[in-house]
Symmetry: C2
């Protein structure tokens, strides 16, 4: 992949394309025009062509997109075919919800263990993964080539724990702590999940509906 | 508020502005230039001015933004000062995580009850709210003026339950079921929380880091 500047707005749409394309495959659709894809996604056809052209195109004039090829190209762009290993740090309700219900394998990720501070009070097996005390996390990351840490700890513990995980070798953080992590200088991608942004967007759209 | 077209991209940034402005208030910052706000948020100063001008501006040339006034204006735009009532439908791990840890009041929302299908097997009180059997949901919505339903049910039950809730009077849905709800014709805003989009954005940014 060529290293050129692609805006975060385009990047944020890539997972959405991937999701829609997978839905089309589930529905038995083999090919689709940029116009039809645009309608489904609430975008314009030219925006879709522009977005996908950032990565080399993939459509053919007069034919549209072959849905399975597009899915494979998007998976490659997003790095979903790399089989990255992940651990979850903090196994409270949020951690359990993810462990039991989220399909990590659909994002090319293998969740291999959980870690918790309050080790004595929780089950040592949570669905498909074992839970270990946090003291062991550094050596576990190193010996198992863990790349991703999913942090579902209380806010107060988020930053210090994240720093520790990065020092132990973590390459990316999926942060559910509702506090933005400050890890300047490490150069590690962090994806913050902000539930409140989503709820406030809903609130805005409800207001607009009432005008 | 004037009813004019504002793009979803602008709307999606409003909750982020609100979040950053609140952080500044917590840090004791009274006023900020669009340039400084832009740097914090990874946007450009002109984009911020353009975004806020969609709703009437609020900044003053040479002064910047008064942070508290901006917070109040954003709260009004987002409808966070309306005290909407919400219920949660599905009280598994995800429902419990939200009930116990999420600050609904910071979005002007009061979570007043939970409902579950599998009523016999769960606690009837979960943190601050009582949990009722799903059979009672319709009359509860009507007699308590509930506007928002938070759906944390298994995917298979999402669409039929959402329709039932809207028929009972729900005005907006916050959907955690990882299946897009199809409620065409009802004209109800739905905000879908797609964890996988966020994880795949992380995956992309990790790949890019490795190039």
């Amino acid at each position: 992949m060529e290293k050129k500047y692609i805006s975060q707005a385009v990047i944020k749409r890539m997972p959405r394309y991937y999701r829609y394309v997978n839905e089309m495959i589930d529905m038995g659709i083999n090919r689709i025009s940029s116009k039809a894809l645009a309608e489904k996604m609430g975008l314009t056809a030219s925006q879709i062509r522009q977005d996908l052209n950032c990565f080399g195109g993939f459509g053919q004039q007069g034919y549209g997109y072959n849905v399975e090829s597009l899915r494979d190209e998007l998976a490659q762009i997003l790095g979903l075919n790399k089989d990255k290993k992940a651990i979850i740090v903090g196994v409270g309700n949020m951690g359990r919800a993810l462990t039991k219900n989220f399909h990590f394998e659909r994002s090319g990720i293998e969740l291999i263990a959980g870690f918790d501070l309050d080790f004595g009070s929780i089950d040592t097996v949570n669905g498909p993964i074992a839970i270990f005390p946090i003291d062991n996390v550094d050596s576990y990351i190193e010996s198992n080539d863990v790349e991703i840490a999913i942090i579902t700890l209380p806010k107060e513990l988020a930053s210090t724990t994240a720093e520790r995980l990065v020092r132990a070798g973590i390459k990316g953080i999926w942060n559910f702590t509702s506090s933005d992590l400050h890890l300047q200088g490490y150069g590690i991608p962090i994806e913050n999940v902000h539930f409140s942004d989503s709820l406030r967007t809903l609130s805005y759209n409800m207001e607009k509906n009432n005008v």
